[in-house]
Amino acid sequence: MQQRIGVFVCHCGSNIAATVDVKKVVEMLALEPGVVHAEDYQYMCSEVGQAKIAEAIKEKQLTGVVVCSCSPRMHETTFRKCAERAGLNPYMVEIANIREQVSWIHKDMEEATQKAVILGRAAIAKVSLNTPLKAGESRVTKRALVIGGGIAGIQTALDIADAGYEVDIVEKTPSIGGRMSQLDKTFPTLDCSACILTPKMVEASANEKITLYTYSEVEKVSGFVGDFTVDIRKKARSVDMSKCTGCGVCQEKCPNKKAPSEFNRGLNTRSAIYTPFAQAIPNVPVIDREHCTKFLTGKCGVCSKVCQAGAIDYEQQDEIITEKYGAIVVATGFDIIKLDNYGEYAYDQSPDVITSLELERIMNAAGPTKGHLERMSDHKAPKNMVFIQCVGSRCSDGRGKSYCSKICCMYTAKHAMLIRDKYPDVNVTVFYIDVRTPGKNFDEFYRRAVEDYHVNYIKGQVGKVTPEADGSLTVHGVDLIDNKQIKMKADMVVLAAAIEPNPDIRKIATMLTASIDTNNFLTEAHAKLRPVESPTAGIFLSGVTQGPKDIPETVSQAGAAAVKAIGLLAKDKLLTNPCTAQADIMACNGCSTCANVCPYGAISYEDKEVRGPGIREVRRVAVVNSALCQGCGACTVACPSGAMDLQGFSNRQIIAEVDAICR
């Protein structure tokens, strides 16, 4: 068929037009074979711009459209929809990226214009070989999975359940609650963390739409948006959840109380059978088999003897549950970095150098010191406390993290204020590089620490902390405003250690085929416009897994992720990407090579009758399940005869692009 191609060149205001001679591009591309229409406009993506495209499609009976504009990742969908409205198959549209790949990176106009023309030619060459495609349909399982049971995961699950959908939370530790349950007070209102979190935890466990899998991990994920199949490993609790009454006698009687308490950051110990904290949900303990005397030596069994409900089950095994989901929300949260690389701050050398999270536990009434502020070395009350900011944050030297952890300035102001409030005779000094407090009532909060509580803020990073023979600490700092070096005595030093994504995220991201950035934060589909979605369809991001954020931000993002998941679950059918692989049965050898490389198991083999010139026989040939095929194209290269091809990115199309570029 004779091609009738329309070319539309966008100025993008001056974004493109300042560097690319748009008129010249129009002029040159109009000469290409098959092009019957070429024009430029200031903003092709605007209503007027789209109307121009629609008009040309109708008037000139265009068979293909090339838009020379920004990245297809930005507006390909816009222009496809525009074409569809004008009666052209949406897959007959190709984009030449002359903004990100041309005008924004080149300065020389002639050179940029020439490159824009070449990219336009490649798009024309490709679109000439496009074929109309029709999206298929796939079903949606109306159930969501939330990975991680901290405040982000709980909020997301509550919101999804509220909309009437089933949702499961998978939490690795024995209880939901996450980092927030370890905090004492929260900024900027200083209300007690447990008081606002516990009701949410209870609500999550009571909600009949929500199923909690605690002490469980995601083991395997297959499928795709709308139809994920997930294996969940329920680790052996050694306690029968249906029998346990949560009376707590087992924990009391357990003779082995030497296991470091994860919940109290190792500041004290717990029993081998334990719930992480008093308000744990579910209130069912687990046996830590690495510390339990029964498991280590075979002798003991005290918990079993004292359990009136007979809930202790030493024989319990891990259990794998397989469940189907339409949407998956990742809310795996964070931990603080290990401080091995920061020996100068003497974290490993003195028990009185602690992290802020440890301070939270010390300040907490349920913590290892029952809420009394004291030194871990000699349990004496400190007189002088020093806070060091940015320990491991904003470090581009390979020792720490290059990003700002975002929450430390605020929680340090909180700690300083709480200490000055409760113990007015304690001197508090904060060494900072910058105080960063964007957020509602945040800077006011920090200023209160200085103005009302007289916290001593000194600009300048600390160089070293030295533990002295008398048990005190010397902080070697600098006051950059006074331009003086400072050697300051302290009884306790608190390090605002950088936060980092939960280390499990790498494994989880791989299972989900969701991309992560260099810092192991999950990547958004768009940094500004799609911040709670992963580029992988059906995967949503909630909380710090996407980037550092505080509680209010986490909760809002958790809600946003829930809405996106709900939006997906509300659909009965999903349109599938029509750019899938297709086998030409005339050329297919039936050799199975393609199936060996298909990550989705989308290729099967059937005996089909093949008819052609001089051929009529039954052959084993490849059949692609287009609902399963995600369009990666691995099979197309594996296929020796070229029988397997990818719609939308066919061999001929790509070769046409190559030819156009190398012409």
Binding site: A125, S128, L129, D584, M586, A587, C588, N589, G590, C591, S592, T593, N596, V597, Y605, E617, R620, A638, P640, S641, G642, A643, D645, N651, R652, I655, A656, D659
Partner: protein, 323 residues
């Protein structure tokens, strides 16, 4: 040879097979060709001697489509190809009765001619149980040469005389390996890039695109070869031809990489004497070095190296690093 004919007769007679795939004397005595035999009479033309180098496994693709079983004679090296074809669902194991035949190396008439022997009429002593010295009848009288000196290059680097698959084995084999398989590849690798380029340019310049290599290759058994289809075509057909022309051997080698058993048929049949196995064997050597020893056709269950991976695979930059 008689033993093979007897076996064929027996299996035809008792109905186990309906045809026999073997070799038949050609127009020249040292040029036997693959052939199907359906009756006892046909079998009079059956030969099996040192010149029966052809790998019959590829013919089983067609035979698998026919009704009834086929008796096929496979040399040890041919069985790798047959296995590979099973793996790729191209031949039907149930339709084949495989008699593994012994091998003491296959002969190359050119190797005899290279020794200065001209006017050859026939060669004697080529049978499996024949002597170590060949007697060559020529227009100028009888000449002799050792069996080994007349062998195909591939037999000097033989993978072994064990049959990978067979229903029964007839005839004893003799080990012929007296050189290292990858020495020829290594010799090329040792050259400078300029020398390598000149070497291959000189080799490939001889190519007349007769497709003999493709036609004989058991791995090149696609129903429709990419070079004959328009799958990779753009609008300008004329240029496509030239693309294929230029890149034919590299692309062909890539298409069979990981599947090529190194049977050496391509080099044997090339009328221009291009050392085509140097391409395939290079891939095999690389695969062995980068991804672990792999012999296509040795194990039907093993995953092919190019349809497999490990997280820690070498990066393509290794090519540069190795220099």
């Amino acid at each position: 040879m008689q033993e093979l004919i007897n076996k064929a007769k027996e299996l035809l007679a008792n109905g186990t097979v309906v045809r026999v795939l073997g070799w038949r004397a050609g127009d020249l005595s040292y040029n036997p060709e693959p052939a199907f035999f359906e009756t006892e009479e046909d079998l009079q033309k059956f030969v099996y001697d040192g010149f029966c180098g052809a790998n019959l496994s590829k013919y089983m693709i067609e035979a698998s489509k026919l009704d009834g079983k086929t008796l096929v004679f496979l040399k040890p090296c041919d069985t790798y190809s047959f296995n590979q074809l099973i793996k790729e669902h191209r031949v039907d194991r149930e339709k084949a009765y495989i008699v593994g035949v012994g091998c003491r190396g296959k002969l190359d008439i050119d190797k005899i001619k290279e020794q200065g022997i001209k006017g050859i009429e026939s060669v004697e002593g080529t049978e499996l149980d024949g002597p170590d010295t060949l007697t060559i009848k020529t227009l100028y009288g009888d000449k002799t040469c050792s069996y080994a000196s007349a062998m195909l290059g591939r037999c000097h680097v033989c993978k072994g005389k064990e049959h990978m698959i067979a229903d029964e084995i007839i005839g004893e084999s003799k080990d012929t390996k007296d050189a290292e398989r990858f020495d020829a590849v290594k010799a090329v690798e040792a050259m400078s890039p300029e020398e390598r380029f000149n070497f291959f340019q000189k080799e490939l310049r001889k190519c007349i695109r007769c497709n003999a290599c493709r036609n004989v290759c058991p791995a090149c058994s696609c129903r429709k070869c990419v070079f004959d289809s328009n799958k990779f075509d753009s609008a300008q057909k004329a240029n496509v031809d030239s693309f294929e022309e230029k890149m034919f051997h590299v692309i062909r080698a890539f298409h069979v990489a990981g599947r090529c058993t190194d049977c050496g048929e391509c080099s044997r049949v090339c009328p221009q004497g291009i050392q085509l196995h140097l391409f395939n064997r290079k891939f095999i050597k690389d695969i062995n070095e980068y991804y672990g020893e792999f012999q296509a056709g040795a194990d039907i269950e093993a995953r092919g190296p190019l349809t497999n991976y490990t997280f820690d695979d070498v990066e393509p930059s290794i090519v540069k690093e190795r220099g």
